[in-house]
């Protein structure tokens, strides 16, 4: 199983699409590692600089409809090779979300209010978080503050995380 804890990056926008996460011109790569320098290169977000802001990030928190657009699994892979195994959002585009779990990564949905709270209380520099898969909750800390946010994860999604992805799961079963 992958590791689900560490420094948090907040991306304060809805509808971040897979072209922004990894532009199509890099889809000519045939290894996941080659995608590493290009993560979020085209993200349209004021003051965000992908060459500066991704250092040591392990968890991304964003708004609604994260990962919409293309089916490219290069989007989760670009996160994965940068050490980011978790994206937390209000909701996800179907294919991106499935791709995350298919890779044994976590796409965690929180209620809108909780996402608002995370942005309001924890989004200044220095937030660290951890995903507790047994307790189905996110523990987040920043400065003196800490909080716990519950989420639901289906048995299937959890099975994929535990199996390290869909290939391992399906190969045993079908």
């Amino acid at each position: 199983m992958k590791e689900f804890k560490g420094k948090v990056l907040f991306l304060d926008r809805s509808d971040i699409n897979t072209d922004e996460i990894i532009p199509a011109k890099y889809l000519t790569e045939i290894t996941k590692e080659a995608l590493k320098p290009y993560l979020l290169e085209d993200l349209k977000l004021p003051a965000f600089d992908s060459s500066r802001d991704l250092k040591d990030v392990r968890i991304v928190i964003s708004r609604a409809n994260f990962g919409c657009g293309s089916s490219r699994e290069h989007a989760p892979w670009a996160f994965e090779v940068n050490g980011i195994n978790v994206v937390i959002a209000e909701n996800f585009a179907r294919i991106f979300r499935q791709n995350m779990f298919n890779c044994g990564m976590c796409a965690i949905e929180l209620k809108k209010d909780d996402i608002e709270k995370l942005f309001a209380d924890y989004s200044s520099t220095g937030a660290e978080a951890e995903i507790d898969l047994n307790g189905n909750c996110i523990i987040i800390k920043n400065g003196g503050k800490s909080g716990k946010f519950s989420f639901e994860m289906s048995e299937y999604d959890k099975a994929l995380v535990l199996a390290g992805g869909w290939v391992g799961f399906a190969d045993k079963k079908y």
Binding site: D19, E73, S154, V167, D171
Partner: protein, 428 residues
């Protein structure tokens, strides 16, 4: 309680339900292209599982970057080519015979009502035009599909769109789907099947239904879907005439693939499209939609007609009708990519290619091309493209470029004036 067409397809293809709300379905087709498949192939090789579930159900095309533009894209093609040969995949379409996946696969008769189809391409929803459950997936789902012939989905909650009235001349499926996405938003059908019904859909050709279903994903939809009818049978007849004694018999067999009148929907939207105007996107999301009238006069730098949305023969005929005897503006450049070799040949025979060339269009080989800024037709920073494609994301056609999505008629009219313009086919 009755069932929707998607529920019926799920029921008939169910292999396993390992968990509540996890439906593992048997696949009738796995479609592959050179961008998302090679990593699945190399991963299967690394796992020492380089097998395919059924070479006859796997259909393969090189379409995104063709001819190869550099060593990397040449390698992607080579991996796909070698793999197809190694596994005896007969339906592999290499350069000279290749076209945009969602145009060439239906054209070859690979899609049937009641089928389940996956592909590592988000616009796989296009094939729902045939009464098919067709979903775009990532490379891992594709990999398991190739290996095992199965894919897992959630219960197919369905949103029904009843399109009433009749489209005015000069208003097309593209305008209808842009309007719908504008109404429900880019997240409006996430995790849902978008079922399109009503007299507007009944009146549409298969090409138009493909345009409609193609953009379901732009509202987050898993698959678009239309009920099969006489037009579906006509389109497929050359491929199925051995299987059925008559078109009536084929129609009867296909007729089971429609929703029951008492089926349950997540939502039902009814739109009377009689007064719908030609539509166009602004900004960087496909739900940012206005009428062409509201956007009229905005200058563009490039026109692109093609893609899995609007690169079919019907689209070329409409655009050529607008362009006939006219020249494109000196302020623009224009590119046409017929979606398949067959469409290209038909367009040549019908004299359409001449119309485009006389107007000043560059005509490329069939390819996904400019749509995603991967090979030809890339925009420079700050440039604007009037495009018949399906995505206007920031950077989609090139870093810093802007894309306005529209119908082929509007794109052709825009090419002539150099500014976003309603076509002469639309009388208001």
């Amino acid at each position: 309680m009755g069932k929707t067409i998607a529920e019926k397809i799920f029921e008939s293809h169910l292999v396993d339900k390992p968990f509540e709300d996890t439906f593992v379905l048997k696949l009738d087709r796995v479609f592959c292209h050179e961008i998302t498949t090679p990593i699945a192939i190399t991963d299967l090789e690394a796992r020492k599982m380089d097998r395919v579930f059924d070479p006859d159900k796997i259909k393969v095309v090189i379409d995104h970057v063709t001819p190869a533009k550099d060593s990397k894209t040449a390698l992607q093609g080579k991996i796909l080519r070698d793999w197809s040969r190694r596994h005896g995949i007969k339906d592999f379409f290499d350069i000279g015979r290749n076209g945009v996946c969602h145009a060439i696969f239906p054209e070859k008769g690979f899609v049937r009502p009641g089928f389940t189809i996956i592909m590592g391409d988000s616009h796989t929803c296009t094939h729902g035009a045939f009464g098919t459950f067709a979903a775009g997936v990532g490379t891992t789902d594709l990999e398991v599909g190739i290996l095992k012939g199965v894919c897992a989905f959630k219960f197919p909650e369905t949103v029904k769109f009843v399109l009433k009235g009749a489209l005015k001349p000069g208003v097309y499926a593209k305008d209808a789907i842009l309007f719908i996405i504008g109404q429900i938003g880019v997240n409006g059908a996430t995790n849902k099947v978008m079922e399109f019904t009503g007299p507007v859909v009944d009146g549409m050709s298969m090409e138009s239904r493909m345009t409609l279903c193609n953009m379901a994903i732009e509202a987050g939809g898993t698959s678009g879907i239309c009920y099969p009818d006489g037009k579906t049978v006509d389109y497929l007849w050359e491929f199925i005439s051995d299987e059925y004694s008559s078109k009536e018999e084929a129609f009867k067999a296909f007729e089971i693939w429609k929703s029951d009148s008492d089926a349950s929907y997540d939502a039902v939207y009814e739109y009377d499209l009689s007064d719908l105007e030609p539509m166009v996107t602004y900004d960087y999301k496909p739900d940012m939609v206005k009428t062409v009238r509201e956007m009229e006069g905005i200058p563009v730098d490039q026109i692109y007609i093609g893609s899995c949305t609007n690169g079919r023969i019907e689209d070329l005929r409409i655009a050529a009708e607008v362009l006939k005897g006219k020249k494109i503006s000196d302020n623009v450049r224009a590119i046409l990519s017929p979606a398949t070799p067959k469409i290209y040949s038909m367009a040549l025979k019908e004299g359409l290619i001449e119309v485009f060339q006389d107007a000043g269009f560059c005509v490329t080989n069939p390819t996904c091309g400019a749509c995603l800024g991967m090979s030809n037709g890339v925009l420079a920073e700050g440039e604007v493209c009037a495009s018949t494609t399906n995505r206007n994301f920031y950077g989609r056609m090139g870093k810093g470029g802007m894309v306005h999505l529209m119908s082929p008629a509007t794109a052709a009219a825009t090419a002539i004036s150099g500014k976003i313009t309603n076509s002469s086919l639309y009388k208001g």
